[in-house]
Symmetry: C2
Subunit: 215 residues, 2 copies
Amino acid sequence: MKIMVLGGGGRAGQAIVQEAVKRHHDVTVVTRDARSSQARVPAGVAVLERAPLALTPEDVAGYDAVVDAVGIPWGSGHGYLHLDIAAHVIALLRGQKTRAVFILGSASLAMPGQDHPAIEDFPEVAASQPWYDGARYQYYEWQYLRWVDNVDWVAFSPGEAFMTGPASGYQLGADTLLLDATGQSHVTTGNMALAILDQLEQPTAHQKRLAVADQ
Amino acid sequence: MKIMVLGGGGRAGQAIVQEAVKRHHDVTVVTRDARSSQARVPAGVAVLERAPLALTPEDVAGYDAVVDAVGIPWGSGHGYLHLDIAAHVIALLRGQKTRAVFILGSASLAMPGQDHPAIEDFPEVAASQPWYDGARYQYYEWQYLRWVDNVDWVAFSPGEAFMTGPASGYQLGADTLLLDATGQSHVTTGNMALAILDQLEQPTAHQKRLAVADQ
């Protein structure tokens, strides 16, 4: 498959690129700064120097999938880019067959036994936390995606802890946070990458969000 | 003021351009097809040939306001462009002083005495109506705009009847449909243009939607 990864030099993106290369896919990493990303992009991976919001219809033409793995630094105040980049990717792919893949935060998942996103219950004081800005816009991003019925999108939400780590096996859920036997919620970047590549190779979820956790 | 109008060759857009020119503003019309729009653009108005979704940060630099007056033909199945174009304009103007102006449908207004958008009460059969696709996405567009806190946006909703007609005087409301003495809801394109230009010259509403009706 021909796969484009936005944020492919980032933490989640690197794991996705690595897994895609391992499976012999044709991978292009989109980055604002090709030179500084070069060290983090494996050999054989194409690099397109472009800000995600500057991607054109021509740029994405011919790809089987566009994966939005752009991470926004906590405390940057730029959490809105989660929403803007998702909306841009969707606008580029309207009415096309190309799959669009998004990574949403865990705050838009429901706590077990609940029927609404956890972020809706967060106390007001949460807004002062450095992660809140990104979590809020990824929650909006999720609401936005649910309005999209002419793009074959799928979204993935990690656990509360989304750690750099190897691929070891994962479990999938839907809109509810997955907990391990001790009540902890976690997924490695390697397992997130496994889940995304499995889903691209064997599509089962369309216009849906999947929760991913370590097995 | 330097004002950019998207959809400036369309029904609402023409009235806005005409009113802006009358007030001696510096107006640019953005159009996909400069040649076919030429007849509908008054002398002295600049034309930028560009699809709205292809507008770049450089294109909008230096403008005091960007007015999204793009109309999507009923029954085209392209109602999603209301949402995509709004999201694109917002992404271009994040963190800037340029005002962003949007025209939303009347279906996202509440009926008098109600506290929620009328479209939420529409029977399922409404979905088969040719106007529904656009109305639905303008409702989403309104929800989307309410997430935007770093652009100085203002939106206008016309009445149920939004007719081509002269500027004769208007009244403003908020999120509720305005009715005349006989219970009718209507506004002309001329009065919508008056309301928009007055708001640009004398800003009173920030990150809000205003209902507009004939006086």
